[in-house]
């Protein structure tokens, strides 16, 4: 698994190099690889879900402006997610300031239908809503974006220890919540 991750990271590094040298093929491949990750990341964030597509475009504009700051050999994903976090905060503040709270129903991302075997388990989004923002962010990057602890630490400008602590606390809380819900369901069926 580790070698797959390393291969993926090396491939992204090569694509970034091509992007910096204005290679259209490498750039198109990079867009294809990164866009779904960014979209999923924003969809898992309650404040950003309704604007995920717009946010992805905004992040790409910022990536384009800052592409010279990427250093070869560094992991690409923490670089991308650090820009994404910053863009998200900026866009959120701007939206709040101008009070433009329009939710377009056709822009709401589709949610995959629940597996019938999993009925009764709360959705991941509902579970995440129970967590504080900092823990939610770490869990999203770790579990949804598939980044390693070190990569999450880079993207969030935290220490590895702090990320581990946040992830552990978040999962302890999620486990407790799930256990409580399963217990209450069992009591109801009796």
């Amino acid at each position: 698994m580790r070698s797959n991750e390393q291969e993926g990271a090396a491939e992204l590094d090569e694509l970034m190099r091509g992007y910096q040298q204005a290679d259209p093929l490498a750039t198109a491949s990079l867009i294809e690889a990164v866009t779904p990750l960014l979209y999923r990341y924003f969809c898992y964030r309650p404040a950003s879900r309704h604007h995920a597509a717009d946010l992805v475009q905004e992040v790409w504009l910022r990536i384009h402006k800052s592409r010279h700051t990427y250093r070869h050999g560094d992991p690409v994903l923490p670089w991308v997610y650090a820009i994404a976090r910053h863009a998200e905060v900026d866009v959120y503040r701007k939206r709040r300031r101008i009070e433009m709270v329009e939710y377009q129903m056709d822009a709401v991302p589709e949610v995959a239908s629940a597996n019938p075997e999993m009925r009764g388990i709360p959705s991941f989004e509902a579970l995440m809503a129970e967590l504080p923002e900092s823990q939610r962010e770490v869990v999203t990057m770790l579990k949804v974006s598939g980044m390693s602890i070190e990569e999450v630490a880079r993207a969030t400008a935290n220490s590895v220890g702090s990320v581990k602590q946040k992830a552990h606390r978040a999962y302890e809380k999620l486990r407790r919540l799930l256990e409580a819900r399963v217990d209450s369901r069992e009591t109801q069926t009796r």
């Binding site: 709360p122 993207a155 992830a167």
Partner: protein, 258 residues
């Protein structure tokens, strides 16, 4: 594998056998894993094409940032030149008054502080860079050690002209810091600017340290309260100015340029 080990693994389909075994044995982890995997978001089909059209239209080659050592050297060079110019203008009476021990400790700590903060500043230029020390820790550590050294090395004496002499030193320190600032900003002009407040604080602090070094060389008044309030006060003022300037820049950028 324990629940804690699984917490730190990305949940992918190709989980290692130990993780899969743990999932089969632990109901809590299994339920959680299922909840994470239950929801998936598919991006709209046209999104990739829209992004590609946006990016490929203005695609030009760019020169990557130079490495951190080059940037640090540039900043140190500009800072050193500002200190030399200040010492030429205000004189070197302070350097003559300092004992060897005082000079060695003060300038060693100043040098270490400048290197530490420069390192932070150049790391902050790149989004998602590996931070060996947290920025607040670097700022706090460099200022605290300097403060401790001043309190230990210099005696306290009552000074009736505390404010008049002090204000002169504070202004001289700030002028030197202000003269360093445009050059430091030139060195870091290609920063991505995702952590502008810390960047402002670090830039202000580096410039403030240049001011402090110059005042230590120029000011012959080696008294504890004078150095803490006015010499180090110039460093704090410069750092604060950096933070305020970066916040203002952020706000202007947000309001008018987007």
């Amino acid at each position: 594998m324990t629940c804690r080990d699984l917490d730190f693994l990305p949940l992918r389909d190709d989980l290692p056998p130990a993780a899969q075994e743990h999932l089969s044995e632990c109901p809590a982890c299994r339920t959680l894993h299922a909840a994470v995997q239950m929801q998936s978001f598919a991006p709209p089909k046209e999104l990739n094409a829209q992004v590609a059209a946006l990016i490929l239209a203005g695609l030009k080659p760019v020169k990557p940032l130079p490495n951190r050592a080059v940037l640090t050297f540039e900043v140190l060079l500009f800072g050193g030149l500002a200190v030399a110019a200040g010492a030429w203008y205000w004189g070197t009476a302070g350097w003559a008054e300092l004992s060897r021990g005082q000079a060695a400790v003060m300038f060693a700590l100043l040098g270490t502080g400048v290197l530490l903060v420069c390192d932070q500043m150049t790391r902050l230029m790149v989004p998602g860079a590996k931070m060996t020390v947290q920025p607040w820790m670097a700022v706090g550590l460099s200022l605290t050690t300097l403060l401790m050294a001043v309190l230990y090395l210099f005696p306290y004496e009552s000074d009736p002209e505390f404010f008049t002499t002090g204000l002169h030193c504070w202004l001289a320190g700030l002028i030197c810091a202000g003269a360093t600032a445009p050059f430091v900003l030139f060195s870091i002009r290609r920063s991505a600017g995702v952590t502008r407040v810390w960047h402002g604080a670090a830039t202000g602090l580096v410039c403030g340290f240049a001011g402090l070094a110059m005042v230590e060389i120029a000011c012959p008044l080696l008294e504890r309260s004078h150095i803490v309030a006015w010499h180090m006060g110039a460093v704090l003022t410069a750092a604060l100015t950096g933070v305020i300037a970066s916040e203002c820049w952020n706000e202007i950028h947000r309001r008018f340029w987007k």
